[in-house]
Structure formats: C-alpha cells, structure tokens
Point group: D2
C-alpha cells in the first residue's frame, strides 16, 4: 500500500469509560472522537484560549435557560470572570429575577393538558411549569422599581445595572442580574420590548407617565463603542436569537468607525438551529466571516446541542481547567452606575461613536 | 372482526398526481395525506377561516425572508388584506428597503469561500449574497431619513410608517414597507435595535444628537391597546423569533386590562424549530394555550417547513381560494400618520393602557 | 463605487403571487429565491436533466410515505417511467400492500391518547392511525403467499416482483408493488427483515418450514451488476435510511469490478436529517463524492423538507414539464420473472459479479 | 394568593457549578433542570431501574458511532453487562472490525474538499476520515473469513458470533464484536445487506459460490423467540434506524404468540430525529405504546441529543452508579456457538416460533 495521505495523521481515539471521570476528563477524552462530542470538547479548548488571550468576551443568552435551571451557571460565568459582557433576551433576565425574588419554576411534563393548566393559571415552557399569578406580581414589582428611576431614557445596560442593584439590596440572592451588578459586568437586552421585563416597564407609564423610557438605540452605540475602545473580542453564544446578532453587529458597526476592529478573534456557539433555512440563529460561523463578524483566522466552533446538556458540562470542566488562566487573565474593568459607562477608566458613550480606541491611545 | 373504532372514520386519501394542478388544487389534495403535507393543507383552511371570521390578523415575520425572495409575497398579503398588522424583525424590513431602493440580493452558494467573500466585501446569508458597500450606503440613507424626523421618541410603528412613506415617495417601488404604508397597515419591530435599521438610526445621532430616539416601550402599550380595542385576534407566524412572542405578549398583556380578551382565536405557524429545547421559536401552540396566548377552542396548526417552500404555495393557493372571503371581509381600518394611531376611528394610545374595548363601546 | 464582483451576477427574483399558478409555474418562480424553496426548484431541474440524459434512475424510499398518502405518487413515478429501479424500506411496501388490498390508513392526531389507542388496537404513525387486526391479517396473507413460492431462496427483487404480481392478480388495484410489477421495474428491499413484510415471511416457516428464505446477499450482487451493466446512474432519495446507502453502495461496489463506473451522474435527495450528527441519512452529497458514490461533476441537490410537502409538488410539476423528455427517453428495460433478471436483454446475475458492462460489449 | 396547584410541587433546582464534578454528579445535578439536560439525567435513572429489575436489555446501535469513537463505550456496555443483546447497523460493526483489525479512523473536517479527498481515496464521514484502500482490504478479509464457514445459511446472530470469535483469535483486540463474543452476548444485524459487511460477504460467492448465505428471516424468528422465552424486556436505542424498529418488532411479534409479552417495560432512546415527519427513527415513545411496543406503564425517556455527547456521559456515570446494581443483577445467559442459540439453558429456535415462555415453564 502506498504511503498514507498526510490528511490521515491524527487518529480518532475511542472514548474509554472509567469510573469517577470528572467533567474536565470527560471533555479531554472527547477531543479525539467525532461529531458533536468532539465539537463540545473543542469548545472547551476554544474558551480556554479566549481566557488566555487579552480579549473581551461577550456572552449571548437566548432560549429558556433561566427557567430551565441554568441561571446559576450563567451567574457563575459572571462571578468567576469567564465572560465580560452579557447580551440576553428579556425572558432569561425575567425568569432570573423571578427566582432571585424567591419564586420558583417547577418540574412539569411536555404531555401536560394545557387547557387544564390554563384553568389553573399555570404557564408551561416545554417540560417546566410556573405560576401565572406570580408572574403578574413580578410585572408589578418591575413597574414599581422602574417608577423609582429618574424620568429620562435609560439604555438597557444602565437600566439592568440598576435593576440588579435593587434586586441585590432587596433580596441578597444570587442570580444573573445580581451577579452582574456585583461584578460590574454590563448586560444588554436589545429586544427588551419583547419580554415580560418590557411588559413590566410599560406598566410604569400607567402610574408615572414620564417614566419607563428605554433607549435601545443608545445600546447600539454603547456596545459599538465598547468594541472600538477594546477591539479584540470573542463571542460565546448560547442558542442564537437576538443576542447572537447583536454581538456580531457591534463588531461590524465598530469596524465602520475604527480600522483596528477586525471581527471576533474567537467564536463559540451552542445552537440547535441549522444553517440551511437561512435564519440568523442557525447561521454558521463560516458565514459570519463573510460579514467581517469574525476575523479570518478566528478560532471557532459550533456545537449542535441543547445548552441544558452542553453548558453544565462545559462550565464544570472550566471550573477546573480555567483556574490558572483566570488568575492570570487581563480582563476589562467597567463602571456602570450612570448614563455613561467606563471601560478600563475610559468613557464609553451611548450618544456618539468614538473615533479612537485603546490601542491608539 | 369487531366493529371498527370510531377513531378510524376518515381515511387517508393518497395524493393523485395530475398535470397542471394549481396551488389550490395541490393543497386540496394534500388535506387527507399525513405529516407536514397535511399540516400545510390545514394551514390553508385555517387561514381561510380567519378571513371568514371578524378577527384582526397579526403576521409575524422572522428569518431571512426578504433577502430570500419572499418580500413581494408579504407585500401581497398586505395589499390584498390577508393580514392586518405585521410584527417583523429588523432584518426583514432592512432587506426589503434594500431592494425597494433598487439594489438586489444575489444567488450564491452555501459552499462559498467566505474568506474570499470577505475580501470582496460580499455578505453571505446561506446561499444568498449581497454587497456590503451597498449595505453601508443603506445605513447612511436611513440615518439621513431619520434626521429629517422630529427630535422626539417614535414608536417603531410610527417610525416605520414614516419610513415606508419616504420610500414610496422616493422610489415608487413595491415592497413590504411601501405596501404597508399605502395600505395603512401598522408594522411593529420590537427588536429594531438588533438590526441594520437600528444601526442606521444610531448613526443619526452622530450628526443630529437629538434625533434617533425609538420608544419600544410605547410599542408594547400600543400593540396591547390594539388588542384591547379589537379583542378578537388571529396569529400567523413565519419562523418564530421576536415577532412570535411579541404577538402573543400583546394578547397576554391585553388580558390583564380587559376581560374580553381571551387569546388568539386562530393560530398558524410555519417554523423549523422544535419544541423540545424549550425555546420560544419552536414552542408548540398547545403550550401557548397554557399561557392564555390562545383561546381554548382556537383553530391552530403548526407547519414544520421552511417558509421559502411553504409560503409561496400557501399564498398562491389563497390568491384563488380567498377571493370571495376577502370581498366580504370586515377588516380593521387604521390611521397611522402620527404618534397616536387609530383603529376603526378609535384612538390607540402608546402612553397608557386602555380600559375599554370595542365590544364594550 | 467600484465595479461589482462577478459573484454578484444573478439577482434573487422575489416570488410573485398570482392566481391559478400550477405546480410547474410555482417551481419556476422559486428558482431564483433562496434556501429550501430554491433547492426544491433546483430538484425539479435536476430531475429533468436525469430524464434527458441516458441514465438509470434509482429511487430510494424511506420514511412512512405509503402510510402517509404518497404511495400513488410513487406508483405514478413508476408508471410514467420517471424512475427505473426502487430501493425501499419494508414498511413502505407493507403499507402499500395494505391499501392495495383495500384497507385504509386514517386521519389521526399526534396528540392522541396512546393508551386508549392501544386498548382499541389502533396503531399510530404520528398523525395517522391504522387497525392492528387488519395488520395481523395482512401478515397472514403474506405468509400464505410466501408458502406458495418455491422452497428456495429468493432475492427481495424476485420476491417483490412475485408479490406485486399476486397482488395485481388478486386485487387489480393500483399501488407501488402492482405498478412496479406491471412496468417490469425492479424493487429491492435490503432491510426486509426489519419490517412487517419480513414478519409475514417469517410466519411462513411455521407452516411450511422449507419456505420463507430471502437472499439479501444476492440483492447486493444483483444491484451491483445492474450498475456494472449500465454504469451511468442517477439517485433520487426520499428520506435517507437504508435505501440511500444501498443505492450508493451498489455504485461503490460496482466500481471495484468495473472501471467504467464512476459514481452517480445526478443526485437528488429530499431529507429532514442533518449532516452534523454523522448519520448516513443526513449525510451531504458533498461527502458522498469523497466515497466515489457521486461523480465529481455530478449535478446534485439536497432539499431539506418533509417529502409529504416536497414530493407532491415536484411530481405534479414533472407531470407537465417532463412529458417531452419522457417521450424521448432511452430507459433500461427489465425482465424480472425469475432468479436471474435481465436488463436490456442482458442477464444480471445475483450469484457472481459481472466482469464487463454494456459499454464494453 | 390562593393555594398553589399541586402541579407546582417539585421546583427546578438550578445547576450549581463545582470543581471536579464527576459524570454521576453532573447527571444528579441535572435531574431537576429542564429540557434535554433533564432528559439525559432521567435516562441515567431509567437505565439504573432496568438494571435493578429482571429484564433483558436490548441495545440498538445506529449512526456512525464506531467510526465516531464510541465503539469502546459500547464494548464496555457489553463487558460490564449493562446490556444483554445488541441490534446494530452493519456499518457500526464494520467500522468496529476496521479498528479491531488495527486500522484507524482519523480526525477530519466537515469543510474538507471532497474532490481532493476522492482523488486521495479518503472517505469522509462528516468530520472523520478513513482510508478507502484499507476498507477494500477489509472487505476481502471478510470474504476470506466467510469462505471458511460452512456452506449453509447463517442468521446474522450466528454469523456475527463467529466473526467476533475469528477477530478475537486473530487480533486479541477489544471492540464491539470481540467483546460480544467473549461475553456470549448476541448481536443481530437485520440490515446487514445494506453495509460493507454485506458487501464483503457478497464477495465470498465469487470464490466460493455455495457460501455467503445469510438468513435474515431466521433473525426475525430468533429475536422473537428470545422475547417469548424471557418476556420482560427493555430497550436502549441510540440513533433510531433499523435497530430501533427491529427491537420493537420482536416485542410486537412475540405478543402474537405469547400472551405474557406486553411490550418493553423500559425504553430509553437517544435520537436526533423528530416525530413530526412521521419516520420511525424520530417516532416518540408515546406512539410506540399505541403499537404495544411499550407496556402501558413503561418507564420511558427520549433524549434529543447527539450520542457522541450523551453516551460518554451516561456510560461514565453508570460506571459509578450502576456497580451495586450490576453485582446483584440477574441477567440472561446465552450460548451462541451454533445454529440454535440458548438463553438460560433453553433453546431459542430460528426456524419456528415458540409456544411457551420462561414464566410458563
């Protein structure tokens, strides 16, 4: 037989089962198997490389992850500085607030009788139940809180920082919003109007007409400036949706204003959508490169898996493997307590695009 | 053999191929086959029932449908009054504007070399290409337009009406935005900040700092009041995303304020996402019932298919089958040219929730 | 703006809705839209090109298509010579036999109470019901038929030809098996043991121990020789499964014995599985090229859609568009009524691989 | 607020990240989250319950699991007696044989240039490569082995036992076939004709015309009798395909002959297909109940995930959690070295269906 192709140089190593394998050991053994098992193991390595490099790590959070029991995983990513900035759907923040306020979601069944649930005022999210009266009461709580803010437009970043602070002071409970508040980590929620947080805010106007103004256009400017200020970025996306696109558009828009921005240096997505229907949630990272959302040489990996399987394993593995990296990490430092945020001591306007970035200063 | 179960009463009728079958005939023959073929045929019937009843029909538009060649199908649905109100992602309106302004999208390939595309400044959406310089120029056009508006917050509904008008006056071309403008049909875009329309608006502030304010919270109130004013509604959803949820939340929020609101009477969704990962895009219409998004006795159907296959067939079939229904249809009439819209002559506030609805007047 | 890239030369033409569009007109208008709509329109063109060329067209049939109302579409493809050879799962042939024998499948619901169905002895296939006692009686009918055959091994090709003949003589009804019998079109069923046809055959042995022998290894040899004899082939695959692989393996195995075999010249698949889990059903046609299953320059298209939507449209369009091609088509002619089949007058052994093929004779 | 519904009794417990969590601890913490994370944790519990009960556990293996690095996980399930009988696609056994014979599969990329791979005679399975010349040589090795067997029909169960023995004696290497041989665990391969093992067998006839006969109808009878002899069964399915159906049909067919058979008592499937296209691979376990494939009170769980993620975690967790259960387990004992196998000392015919079962003896 003739000499083997150089393409056949790294053999698959079959996974060997052992007792008491840890999450990190599981993923290490999955690095040289195939398909999505390998992708998940690769995601572990790509995230480590992000942490070892000097990049701002965006986390996109879509899907019913908070209702589904992953809110403390995300809080952990925040507290341990595995990510630097969150872009979330409103629902994930709302269901986080619900539990931080001491309420619960419940084990349910996808075969439940929905007419019966409706009569009992129980809302279903696939296999998970929640109390609608408790949700109604949350909305009122949000309306009350919003009425206490100044009667002026807030970016979602500023609003959610204040919301996290209020939650922390009134409950002392851990969650995404409270962890981000305590860690001074910005959260953007570009589609806040499409969520129960938005519904709560809208109810503020009934009692306090000048309140309840959200400046989502300011969020675009601020997130863009954040990239301009610190142009080396990475993207971790859970589930696609508006967060995936918003993280990418910040990079694209920043490149209009600053030649130093060249797309994310690292990209990791855990999605269940597929590319062939053309939707943004399922779009491949290769396609993202054509738009300049990704640098040409970006390390990238797509994991086709439910985040409720992939994220607990990945985060648990990183809890061990990333410790030395986190100790050495140079991460961005924010102040968030006003209309104008700062990053590493520099202001980040939400009113006009910056002309210069960190590397040029 | 014992008497047959009453569950076995309607036999499958195998599809019989014939020459020159029309779209309507295709769907009629698919009514008694199985799986998604039957679902698509059922969708045809459910939409007809919506049109025969006295309901306000919401259309949700997500996925890259405009870039993908369906914008004139949606414009047709608007012009022919097959729907009454659109909730869209920003991308679908942006790509519509792009073509209405005379630019094109192009046939491409999913196997394209994305690094080469990036060098040529071509953006890829699966199998479809577009020119990035043309997109940059669109953004500037949007910024210019936005600077001409009054320096005050606009709901997306008001903003998009003005945008449609400006497009119509400057191009005279058909499209979603121009068709909606001419038909006085409202468009909401709750996640406008997550789109190139939002990016264009954000650039306005660079030149005209007081401009480029979007009041997405006002959209929540207005869409809710629209349901309160005319509580019998139907939902046609293409692709899930923020439009699907926004249409449902309007119904849920309206029920807080008005006992006459009881969820959509009809629901039809064409989606590719699945329920079992818990995300809202794939959520079943059964689940929607538990939330009160759907009436208990709502006619409903989910079609698991790419809208680029399902919608051309469905719209073409309705072009024949719905004609008598459209002639007799009692549809809502809007005025949209100011901060306060009207429906059937009654104002619809974007500032506070209405206490009474049409049926109580 | 600089000169446009040559990659941007064929614009998307938005689909325009009209009344009374036929299936062929629908697909023609879908040729220049995007995503799976375009793929379906491309499938129409690729199938036409197969018919215009001198190739043997294999049809793979998997999924519950017969139970789901598509058996007469497949019979139509056979009768009108749009395909030349079928590879099917056993289930599709069994459910075809069920209806050809005058029994029916029934409209059901995916939300049915399966415990109640089990008590009533109703079997459910997603949204379709059938009577279990009728299935039991089919199995006995198959056992009776099988006992009438000679006590020797039969390839599935020979067995299914005899079964089709018996069905035709006893019922005179149209279906896949009877159409193939009448058109002298071979059907292979490599996984017959994994089906109710296999179960019926197995029951023959209880009464006639020397009967009920199926030679599936003979099927491999015969299908390979069929490709060796007529090495220009095309593949139309519905749903993946064993038929997809069997059609490809015939091509790969034939290439071992004959240098004139170079993979399918055309490949069209309508599937719902995706490539990224590594399974054969979802494997891409690009991947197939690496194995030599496809010629390097093969015209190919994958349509990601449920066959119950895609096939009725495609077959209806071809009923018009393919007529001139069918009149001129040079198709293979088979005799099937014995252990040794012939193609175009030449024998096709099921015992040993042929050394020469048509082009060398 | 009124008293809470009894449906809201078991709260979701958010997953808490910790260092050094083992696979078992991961799954324990995932039991009270949502969606497929919970399903995977439930699968862990259902498998434990199978092991604690007195049932015969069938394992169905479809998808490219052996090529993809899971063959030693499956060998582990065999060796440790976590399953009692395997039903596999031919491909999984073929790729197992390939590695047991000392050859390898290789890390590749889904973006590979397939024309270049074809020129280098490298076969691609999504992200995994293999040498085609090595595959050709395997086929010859299989043909040589098959020529050494007696010139009579073999069930796949008997054939694969002999194949495993020959592999073990000539290589001494671990794998699925050799582990099953050593553990006296039967393997069925109903679709053997649709695989490279079948291709290898077919080549035997070229040199030894009386050899290479496979009796797949005998497999149906034998697998049915196996259920009749020991009517309490469980089903673990990886990936759907022919194994899923074959395991179910054995149960259905056995119920024709024996009233003690009432469907699987436990069912666990890890699949990526969905129910709504009607195919058997994606069929729900609820649907299976209507057919009597599952007992009405069967413990059941579907995990929608790639097996290359789910199985390594599940098997690793069971390596710890199942130890006490395995020590106490009463499992079936087979002899496999002839045309007639035995289970627990009783013969299991492949020629005629048994009238009595274990519980009646």
């Amino acid at each position: 037989m003739k000499k083997k192709s150089r393409l056949l140089d790294q053999p698959i190593e079959p996974f060997v089962v052992d007792r008491d394998l840890t999450a990190e050991q599981l993923l290490t053994r999955m690095e040289r198997i195939s398909f999505q098992g390998r992708s998940l193991a690769t995601a572990h390595r790509v995230w480590q490389r992000m942490l070892a490099d000097d990049v701002t790590i965006f986390l996109g959070v879509a899907g019913a992850l908070s209702a589904g029991g992953l809110r403390l995983v995300i809080a952990h990513l925040v507290t341990e500085h595995l990510v630097d900035c969150i872009v979330s759907t409103g629902a994930n923040l709302y269901h986080d607030l619900h539990e931080t306020r001491g309420r619960r979601h419940y084990l349910g069944s996808p075969q439940a009788d929905d007419a019966a649930l409706a009569r009992e005022r129980i809302d279903r999210v696939y296999d998970t139940f929640a109390s609608e009266p408790e949700f109604v009461e949350n909305d009122e709580w949000i309306a009350d809180f919003t009425a206490m803010l100044e009667p002026r437009p807030y970016t979602t970043r500023e609003y959610l920082y204040e919301l996290g602070g209020h939650l922390w002071r009134t409950t002392g409970n851990e969650g995404i919003l409270t962890a981000a508040y305590r860690a001074n980590l910005p959260i953007f929620c570009p589609a806040i109007a499409d969520s129960s947080i938005g519904m709560g805010i809208s109810q503020t106007r009934q009692r306090a007409p000048a309140h309840g103004q959200i400046d989502v256009i300011g969020d675009i400017i601020e997130s863009t400036n954040l990239v301009i200020r610190r142009p080396r970025t990475a993207s971790v996306v859970l589930g696609g949706g508006t967060p995936k696109n918003f993280i990418n558009q910040a990079s694209v828009q920043a490149a209009f204003y600053s030649p130093d921005v060249g797309g994310h240096r690292y990209a990791l997505q855990i999605v269940t959508d597929v590319p062939h229907y053309g939707g943004a949630s399922g779009a491949s990272l290769e396609e993202a490169e054509s738009w300049g959302k990704l640098a040409a040489d970006a390390a990238r990996v797509t994991v086709y898996a439910d985040a409720t399987i992939a994220l607990p394993i990945l985060a648990s593995a990183l809890a061990s493997s990333a410790r030395p990296l986190l100790a050495a990490r140079r991460r961005p430092l924010f102040t968030l307590a006003s209309r104008v945020m700062t990053i590493d001591g520099q202001t980040v306007s939400s009113d006009r695009f910056e002309a210069v970035n960190e590397s040029a200063v």
